[in-house]
């Protein structure tokens, strides 16, 4: 299970990177970033997964005393929570940038924004 998702995350990472590096449209680049981030999140969760165990919530299904043997690693999950929110903030900001850039030059082609160079 965790291997499947790890490999998926890994391939997704490359797809996202392809999007970032090869697409000319700024919106597409940002989409590349969201996929890149999601891929990282999948990888992180996969790392915390232990096969056959359940969520780290100590309700009736998981009594406190056997928690250690029943739950998956909660730490990566906490990290991913943080990471998802961060990527939302960054994506929103990037989109705001895209809006502004489009306003200046009426285009979304990234290679049209080469006013600063050398």
């Amino acid at each position: 299970m965790e291997y499947i998702s790890l490999i998926t995350g890994f391939i997704m990472l490359m797809i996202g990177l392809w999007g970032i590096l090869s697409q000319k449209n700024i919106i597409k680049i940002i989409i590349g970033f969201t996929i890149f981030d999601t891929a990282i999140n999948i990888i992180i969760i996969s790392i915390g997964y232990i096969s056959g165990r359940t969520a780290p919530i100590l309700d009736k299904a998981v009594p406190v005393k056997d928690a250690v043997t029943k739950i998956v690693d909660p730490i990566p999950q906490a990290l991913v929570l943080t990471s998802i929110v961060i990527s939302l903030g960054v994506t929103a900001l990037m989109l705001a940038y895209a809006l502004k850039l489009h306003k200046y030059k009426n285009t979304l082609e990234i290679n049209k924004f080469k006013d600063l160079k050398w």
């Binding site: 998702s5 597409k28 989409i31 996929i35 969760i45 999950q77």
Partner: protein
């Protein structure tokens, strides 16, 4: 076992969607595809025993992010036309 098979299918779907999101010429479809990627990812999170993350990904990753994308896209379209 069934879980694993579901996971494999999901993963293949995710990858297909991701490829569409990255290379499709139409921005609307690309954005929708990326939203679907997030949605499927949240199901994977559920399978990986991470309900908290699944909820967050669904609400933020596939929900709000997509909405913001569309708002921006809409705005850009109108600007280009007018």
């Amino acid at each position: 076992m069934i879980l694993n098979i579901t996971a494999v299918f999901l993963c293949i779907a995710i990858l297909v969607m991701a490829v569409i999101a990255v290379i499709h010429k139409k921005l609307v479809i690309a954005i929708i595809a990326s939203g679907v990627v997030s949605l499927f990812a949240s199901i994977i999170f559920l399978l990986l025993a991470a309900p908290d993350v699944a909820m967050t990904e669904a609400a933020i990753g596939s929900g709000l992010t997509t909405i913001i994308f569309f708002y921006v896209l809409n705005k850009i379209r109108k600007e280009s036309n007018g």
